[in-house]
């Protein structure tokens, strides 16, 4: 690939650093999925409307489709893959599994990351906070009711440990 228009950047993703050559217009989502094989963050709209691409940047949920890769330099980027401890699920993932908080599962990584972001800032959220925090993540299957249950359960699980 022609590297004359490429920028050299370093991204810190799931605790590891990646030196990359990117076109300045490439989104963080494109780099995660198509260059690094981190495909948990999903592509749904590329317009910041659905939240399927949600990742955490410095503990805050961000739409990876609306973030240029070059903008993401210097941030701590966390994707769903980074929530795992090896092959073990994190509390929030366990709660999604137990409560069947998904159907097709395509929005699920984004839902989980949005919920993770919430629980990092608000460990014991109210129902209202849960709804607000997930309102930027569409679920066309409509699994919301179970998602709310899962987030409440995850808050409990995290407080226990």
């Amino acid at each position: 690939m022609d590297s004359t228009n490429m920028a050299r950047i370093t991204l810190r993703i799931n605790g590891k650093t990646h030196d990359l050559l990117v076109e300045p217009r490439w989104s963080l989502l494109f780099v995660l999925r198509e260059r690094l094989g981190l495909t948990a963050a999903k592509m749904g709209c590329e317009r910041g409307e659905c939240g399927a691409c949600t990742v955490l940047m410095d503990n805050l949920p961000r739409y990876a489709c609306m973030t240029l890769a070059v903008e993401a330099e210097g941030a701590d980027i966390l994707t769903l893959e980074g929530l795992m401890a090896g092959e073990a699920l994190s509390a929030i993932q366990e709660a999604f599994l137990e409560h069947d908080a998904f159907q097709c599962g395509y929005c699920t990584p984004g839902q989980i990351m949005a919920a993770e972001g919430l629980l990092r800032t608000s460990p014991d959220p109210t129902d209202e906070e849960i709804r607000e925090s997930l309102s930027g993540n569409l679920c066309r299957c409509g699994a919301y009711t179970h998602i709310f249950q899962a987030v409440r359960r995850a808050a409990e699980l995290r407080q226990k440990t």
Binding site: K42, M43, R47, E49, D100, R140, C141, H146
Partner: protein, 777 residues
């Protein structure tokens, strides 16, 4: 490793196993199932929550290119010339195709009569396919698409189905804008019925065009291994994709392998492949490299199907005692620019849901310059329900009867609309209404609302609507194989997709029930035309009632062979043998027992393979699921805002297979129904440009977390239907969304006295209706 999991053991939970029927015998219904009917997380939940599930759009093959498609920006145009030379010269571009590419000179059929070129010079809708590019990155592919130069003759258009038949309307096809002759149905005599009625009401209703917008975009990764085409498609049915692609490309079925292990939602829009699937294959061939081609979100709004708008008129007659005497219904709709079932099944509920001797319906399907429809969760039904269920409510009020009582008065035991009036194998409509009303506390709530003092702008109301779904029984063909390994673990092989309903989980439960094997010891191979058995696409609430009986049959076939093998080892007759708790044992002679993993025939063969076929449905009977939904709303009569406080869905879909995923379906169906009622509308700029103006999720609103009712309840009416099939289960995915919109409209009427006869039921529309209402006063 716990003791239970010792190697070589048959992986049981100490489960007893249902009796094994003799070959050729019809298995009895499960009397005390141990796995079926319980609450089970999904067998693929780990993959889905860990990010390790690979959806087709996640796939990244070595040396893969990215495809994108140039689409017509006009609703109606003729292409004069396409110049691709600039695009071909851009960096990273590896293949460009259009109508002039010899390999792309193919036909695409919409029906038996109507077909066009794959790249047709006549563009009849915004978003029609003109050319396509494959490049090293999607960014470069889009760069190339943008510099393809097209000269168009822009033609006059019609983008409103209500104007398509007006004199002087632009003609979309040579034969005019009528898709076919008007479809009519009639029984009895509606004129006589109206004379017999004490009350006759007539109203007009409209539902807006709704878009599926599943979260995963439509598309595939296509690549060739010599003359074998391999397609990883986001699809509800791999075999459906295989046959269409093979037909368009003129390939033998054996040379098209379609794989679709996961998909991010479809709702009917992924029952079929698109032109995009064939285009990906052509680009891959031309570039001799794999091509990933997924549509953009905007493209999916234009060309991946929709639920057509419905313009309905319903006249109904009722006696004071609640007897329906006549229903007279007509609808005009559109499947867009090509035949696509623009009015399919919109009249079905009027014809079949309630007892009524005199019924007449008429359907008019017209062409407009808009993207073709595709089946959308319960085609036609939510539209017809919007009219019928609001009318029932109005009739009940007019005769001063409770709306539930009126419905109960008219519950049929047979299908009136089908030839010969065949009975339903079972109907739980009465139970859905009665038990739903009881759990919802319908009477108490109505009384509370009646007695409450109306202060301030907030008004509460409750509403009900019920339904059946025209399908939901499933049926042949389907083949499933179950392989039992020598350690007693199982491989289940089926062609069906799991579209998010939990199909794989239910099938694992069926195999676990029959074989006594723990669910996590069952591996499922599915949705691959190269390696898995034949299945029809997953949709129409037919996957569980189609596949589960085939899985059960295959598991029973395994058991029968196993018992025969054990009989040889034990030197006894297989008829006295039973399988259970990891052993085969003789009921009469306690000493005659052998562990499954010790059976020499199994060891010798390595595996036992059972084959199951879906048998025919009972002749002369109809298998339909039924439902009723109840809701309470709070309406602000100053702002027109509607808050849905509670929803209850009561469903009779035969046996409950997995309680957990069942409830999830119910809530999801209600969520989708809320969108249909309150926020979702395709807006075409019908006067000036004919273009869709809200082709994104910002302007086309789906319900979000904030729109969900505070309280959702699922009430399964668990009546196993042994006549339906050998599992007793019927489909659930469609009935859960059919009555939602009408229940909301009825609740809003109860709260405010305002009938909202057109979707979308939003603050803007309500405010207008409130102000008209206060002027009338």
């Amino acid at each position: 490793m716990t003791k239970k999991e010792e190697k070589g053991a048959y992986y049981t939970e100490g489960l007893s196993v249902p009796e094994t029927p003799e070959p050729g015998e019809v298995p009895k219904p499960w009397s005390k199932p141990q796995v079926i009917g319980t609450w089970r997380p999904r067998v693929d939940a780990y993959e889905r929550v860990s990010g390790s599930a690979i959806y087709p759009s996640d796939l990244n093959l070595p040396h893969m290119l990215y495809g994108s498609i140039l689409r017509c920006p006009y609703p109606h145009a003729r292409i004069r010339k396409v110049n691709m030379s600039r695009a071909e010269r851009l960096p990273g571009v590896r293949a460009v195709i259009n109508a002039n590419t010899p390999e792309a000179d193919l036909y695409w059929s919409y029906s038996k009569e109507v077909r066009t070129k794959l790249f047709d010079p006549q563009c009849r809708y915004e978003g029609e396919t003109i050319a396509a590019v494959a490049a090293e990155t999607p960014y470069q592919a889009w760069d190339a698409v943008r510099v393809i130069h097209v000269e168009y003759d822009v033609l006059p258009f019609v983008a409103d189905e209500r104007k398509a038949l007006q004199p002087g309307a632009p003609q979309i096809h040579d034969g005019g804008n009528l898709v076919g002759p008007k479809e009519t149905y009639s029984r009895g005599n509606v004129e006589v019925g109206f004379v017999q009625a004490d009350v006759v009401l007539e109203e007009r209703y409209r539902t807006e065009c709704e878009l599926h917008t599943p979260l995963e975009l439509h598309g595939c990764v296509a690549h060739w291994e010599g003359d074998l085409l391999i397609i990883h498609e986001s699809t509800q049915g791999v075999y459906g994709v295989q046959s269409k692609v093979a037909q368009v490309l003129g390939l033998p079925l054996s040379k098209v392998r379609v794989i679709g292990h996961y998909l991010g939602g479809g709702f009917g829009s992924k029952l079929q492949p698109g032109k995009y699937t064939v285009i990906a294959a052509l680009l891959a061939k031309k570039a001799a490299r794999p091509v990933k081609l997924f549509l953009t979100r905007e493209e999916t709004y234009l060309c991946a199907g929709n639920r057509p708008p419905a313009n309905m008129r319903l006249k109904a007659g009722v006696k004071k005692d609640g007897t329906l005497t006549a229903l007279d219904f007509s609808v005009t709709g559109t499947g867009g620019a090509y035949p696509a079932g623009g009015t399919d099944l919109v009249d079905w509920l009027i014809r079949d849901l309630y007892t009524c001797p005199n019924v007449r319906t008429e359907k008019t399907d017209v062409y407009i310059n808009a993207g073709p429809a595709r089946p959308f969760r319960a085609p036609g039904h939510p539209q017809g329900s919007w009219a019928l269920e609001q009318m029932l409510d109005a009739l009940a009020e007019a005769i001063e009867m409770d709306p539930i009582e009126l419905r109960l008065k008219n519950v049929p035991s047979y299908s009136q609309a089908r030839q010969g009036n065949p009975p339903y194998t079972a109907t739980g409509l009465k139970e859905c209404l009665e038990q739903g009303a009881h759990v919802f506390r319908w009477n108490e709530r109505r009384k509370q609302i009646k007695d409450a003092e109306q202060k301030g702008p907030l008004r509460r109301g409750v509403g009900v609507a019920s339904c059946l779904w025209n399908g939901g029984g499933g049926g042949p063909p389907s083949t499933v194989t179950v392989t039992l390994f020598s350690d007693g673990t199982v491989n289940l092989n089926m062609g069906a997709s799991d579209i998010g309903t939990g199909t794989k989980t239910v099938m694992a439960m069926v195999a676990a029930e029959e074989l006594g094997v723990r669910m996590n010891m069952i591996r499922i191979e599915h949705a691959d035309t190269g390696t898995t058995q034949y299945a029809t696409p997953s949709g129409g609430s037919k996957t569980v009632p189609t596949e589960a009986p085939a899985v059960r049959s295959a598991a029973i076939h395994v058991k029968q062979q196993l018992l025969q093998m054990a009989a040889d080892d034990l030197q006894t007759d297989s008829s006295c043998l039973r399988l259970g708790k990891g052993e085969v044992f003789c009921e009469k002679e306690a000493s005659k027992r052998i562990r499954v993993s010790d059976i020499s025939g199994l060891k010798r063969q390595g595996v036992v393979i059972g084959v199951g076929y879906r048998g025919p449905n009972p002749a002369g009977k109809v298998i339909n699921p039924f439902a009723a939904q109840f809701c309470e709303v709070e309406v602000n009569i100053k702002t027109g805002e509607v808050k849905i406080l509670e929803f209850l869905g009561a469903n009779e879909s035969g046996r409950v297979m997995n309680h957990l995923t069942y409830n999830n379906q119910v809530y999801g169906g209600i969520a989708m129904g809320i969108g249909f009622a309150m926020t979702e509308v395709r807006i075409l700029d019908a006067n000036r440009t004919g273009k869709m103006v809200n082709k994104n999720w910002h302007d086309y609103k789906l319900p979000t977390a904030l729109d969900m009712p505070r309280h959702m309840e699922s009430l399964p009416i668990d009546i196993p239907d042994p006549e339906a099939n050998i599992t007793g289960a019927k489909g659930l995915g469609e009935p859960v969304t059919i009555p939602t919109a009408a229940a909301i409209a009825n609740a809003v009427y109860h709260a405010t006295g305002i009938r909202v006869r057109e979707t979308v039921l939003n603050p803007t529309r309500l405010s207008i209706l409130f102000s008209e209402h206060s002027k009338e006063k």
